[in-house]
């Protein structure tokens, strides 16, 4: 059972994640957008959206540190167990709380503001469900693991997670983890599988290039494709 849940299932989901994005980018660039609903409603969005997005960016970096960096590395640079957990818990809980509050506001808005609700697709609703479950479980784990019980995910979940990418598989570590962590991991994997088929793709178009590109973009007409189809062989343009 562990073998399926924590080896086969993650690989299926991550494959769907990667291939799905490649497919979507190739065939649906036009649909690749944030699908903003700010035009319909601005007042609630102004509070909810930054709260959620900045929160989730914090949460993302928290995961990079917690899951990506081995315990031995942080100890090597002199971060003690206590300090690490204090930071992880305080910053993590803050970011998690911002995310949850933001998300609740946004879902409330999506449900109650008529135009926004009617612009919500079925895929959006499924995605919201998974996203909400993952986020709530995550926040619950942060609190539970630090206060109620003493589970060090850096010896368990993190090792399993890194193992997936190094083909060094440890499904048993997940099997031993508290139920909250197990569910969080499974739902997150499912969310990854859904990801490329939802509006979440806009995460990958975070416009960081804006900081370095010139203000005005010039483009020349594409001379290789002047008509609506490619010129046939033997009809190459002269000059």
């Amino acid at each position: 059972m562990n073998q399926f849940l924590y080896v086969v299932f993650p690989y299926i989901c991550l494959t769907a994640f990667v291939l799905g994005h490649l497919w979507r980018y190739r065939y649906d660039k036009f649909g690749w957008t944030t699908r903003s609903s700010q035009l319909y409603e601005n007042r609630i969005l102004r509070i909810g959206s930054p709260l959620f997005h900045f929160g989730i960016i914090g949460v993302f970096f928290g995961h990079v540190i917690g899951l990506g960096i081995p315990k031995s590395w942080t100890e090597a640079v002199g971060v003690s167990e206590g300090l690490y957990h204090f930071l992880a818990f305080s910053v993590g809980a803050l970011a998690g709380l911002a995310t949850v509050v933001g998300m609740v506001i946004l879902i409330y808005r999506r449900r109650t503001v008529g135009p926004v609700f009617s612009a919500t697709t079925r895929m959006d609703k499924v995605m919201y469900l998974f996203l909400a479950v993952v986020i709530f479980l995550g926040l619950f784990n942060t609190v539970a693991a630090n206060i109620l019980e003493d589970y060090d995910y850096r010896d368990g979940v993190s090792v399993w997670f890194r193992g997936i990418f190094r083909f060094d598989l440890h499904p048993e570590l997940m099997g031993e983890a508290p139920l909250g962590f197990q569910l969080h991991g499974l739902f997150a994997m499912a969310l990854f599988a859904l990801w490329p088929f939802t509006r979440l793709v806009h995460v990958f178009s975070a416009p960081l290039g804006y900081l370095t590109r010139p203000y005005i973009v010039y483009r020349s007409r594409d001379t290789t494709r002047l008509g609506s189809h490619q010129p046939r062989r033997g009809w190459d343009r002269v000059g």
Partner: protein
């Protein structure tokens, strides 16, 4: 010097009757889809008025366009790159749908489905956003013809600027129409605001477009454009804007709005400009100097040095020729009667306007004086500060001198041409009073009053002719259609066989004939021809054969 070509437009506001034909045909061509209901690439505003979206001209509120920072450098008024990225999750300066209007349709089916009842059934307005019943409170031209201006007129941002001198009083007011499309600026702040880099300016003709595949719907362009001519399609989640009808321009035809303009008030042509000087001109310290500064960016296409540089920059010979014949160049640089819309936004707009003399003429006419007399008109231009100052707020950042100059030129043209039309001796002192020669004045009159289709629209086609004909290539030579350069004739199996005439070519020539002919429809000798459908086959009615000429 880095020569670039820009497709530009000038509109003669004196001729605009506010019929909205341009808006309607544009909408039919480009924005009649779901999600674009409220999008008007072309709209016509009554001035004074709030504009569309409401009060878009108030840049202290909307923060569109560019401004100079403390060090005198050009920056986006809405904030730099970092600020843009930090506010990306909720754009603080995005007009809501209410600033435009909530689009609606009517519940027409009740008219036919309603059961028999005492009262006539009513088609209720239904919102196209929420689908619910709604109360119609605003639209794209709600304050058309000063409608409701006693209620809203004082909100016009331009009137507020000159408000210390005038109270908006309906009885004393003046009005004119302002058709607006995207300005296709030389220094577009929408493109600069786009985080994804999806908005680009075409190198060949300067048309500003949105790459629909690259746009990610961050909405910063809507805030960045001071003219609010970028719209957010709420169904696709992408930005859309006026395209200057590039598919038509590429084959040498004018935009839809120009093509269908009833007043024939639009002119399209090329401007050559020095791309290296744009930034410097846009950074001019004095706002009122921006009009002059932008005119200095334009190059004289007849100057041999400019022609050489243009050829070096890869601009084709026929494009340089077109730039020399460009009505835009004549109106902006030669006669200097066209002015840019809100140069103080520092985007270097490329749709310019000839300010209307009519508010002045109307006032003179109402007093019972001769409204075509130079003395009366000149005095009125000097005396009627309110319309003139209003026009100055619109076209020269508040500087009345250029507006005065243009209005006097137009007034002088009126008086000078009246003498000619009445068969009197033309008075050379009239053009001289506004610093023009008699010949210049007459040429300007020709261009403004009677210019034909191909004088108003001087549009060189893009160099893609070959690909265009390849599109419909069958088995024969693509030039082998009637009247084409191939002229291969009808082959061994008669006319009906072989490839059909490419429909694009046929349509194009038919359209062009119709557009350039003086009569409304058909050729000059239409009356002399015979309609074969009505011919019973007996005898030969007159006109069946062309006349044999005088020798028979």
């Amino acid at each position: 010097m880095r020569v670039m070509a820009q497709m530009a437009m000038v509109m003669n506001l004196d001729k605009c009757i506010g019929c909205h034909t341009c808006s309607v045909t544009c909408k039919q061509a480009w924005t009649n889809r779901s999600g674009t209901e409220y999008i008007w690439f072309n709209n016509v505003e009554t001035k004074p008025g709030l504009g569309y979206p409401r009060t878009y001209e108030d840049q202290e509120k909307w923060k569109g366009g560019w401004t100079l920072n403390k060090r005198g450098r050009l920056t986006l008024k809405g904030g730099g790159r970092f600020k843009k990225l930090l506010t990306i999750f909720s754009n603080p300066k995005l007009p809501s749908i209410n600033e435009y209007y909530e689009p609606w349709t009517y519940d027409y089916s009740t008219l036919t489905n309603a059961p028999a009842q005492e009262h006539t059934p009513v088609a209720r307005p239904k919102s196209l956003i929420s689908g619910k019943d709604m109360k119609i409170e605003w639209s794209a031209n709600w304050d058309d013809d000063l409608g409701g201006s006693t209620l809203n007129g004082h909100q016009d941002p331009l009137l507020q600027k000159i408000a210390d001198k005038v109270k908006f009083e309906f009885e004393q007011t003046f009005m004119f129409y302002l058709p607006r499309i995207c300005e296709h600026c030389l220094n577009p702040s929408c493109a600069a605001s786009c985080p994804s880099g999806a908005i680009y300016k075409r190198e060949e003709d300067g048309i500003v477009l949105v790459d629909q595949d690259k746009c990610r719907g961050w909405r910063m362009c809507v805030s960045g454009c001071p003219y609010k001519k970028i719209y957010f399609n709420h169904r696709t989640g992408k930005a859309e804007k006026c395209t200057f009808c590039f598919p038509r321009i590429e084959v040498g035809q004018p935009t839809i709005c120009s093509e269908t303009c009833v007043g024939r008030l639009r002119y399209i042509g090329l401007m050559l400009y020095d791309a290296d000087k744009v930034l410097e001109a846009a950074s001019t310290t004095d706002e009122q100097g921006l009009y002059e500064a932008q005119r200095d960016v334009f190059l004289d296409p007849s100057d041999p040095e400019v022609v050489r540089a243009a050829e070096k920059a890869g601009i084709a010979r026929d494009w340089i020729d077109a730039a020399q014949r460009s009505p835009i160049h004549a109106l902006i640089s030669t006669y200097k009667v066209a002015l840019p819309l809100h140069p103080e936004y520092r985007t270097m707009p490329m749709v310019w306007y000839i300010p209307p003399l009519s508010p002045v003429v109307d006032v003179v006419k109402e007093t019972g004086e001769d409204a075509e007399d130079k003395g009366n008109l000149f005095a009125a231009i000097d005396a009627l500060r309110i319309p003139v100052e209003y026009l100055a707020e619109l076209f020269t950042a508040g500087d009345v001198t250029p507006v005065d100059g243009v209005l006097k030129k137009l007034a002088a043209m009126r008086c000078y041409m009246r003498d000619i039309n009445m068969g009197r001796e033309p008075d050379a002192s009239i053009p001289a009073a506004v610093g023009m020669s008699e010949e210049d004045m007459y040429d300007m009159y020709r261009l403004l009053a009677i210019a034909k289709y191909d004088e108003r629209y001087v549009i060189p086609s893009a160099h893609a002719e070959q690909a265009h004909s390849l599109e419909e290539l069958a088995t024969e030579c693509s030039l082998d259609y009637e009247g084409g350069p191939g002229m291969g004739g009808s082959g061994p199996f008669g006319e009906g066989s072989g490839a059909p005439t490419p429909i694009a070519v046929e349509n194009f020539q038919m359209l062009q004939d119709r557009q350039t002919s003086d009569s409304l429809a058909g050729p000059d000798d239409k009356a002399d021809r015979v309609n074969l459908l009505n011919w019973d086959g007996r005898g030969s009615p007159p006109g069946l054969f062309p006349s044999k000429g005088s020798d028979s």
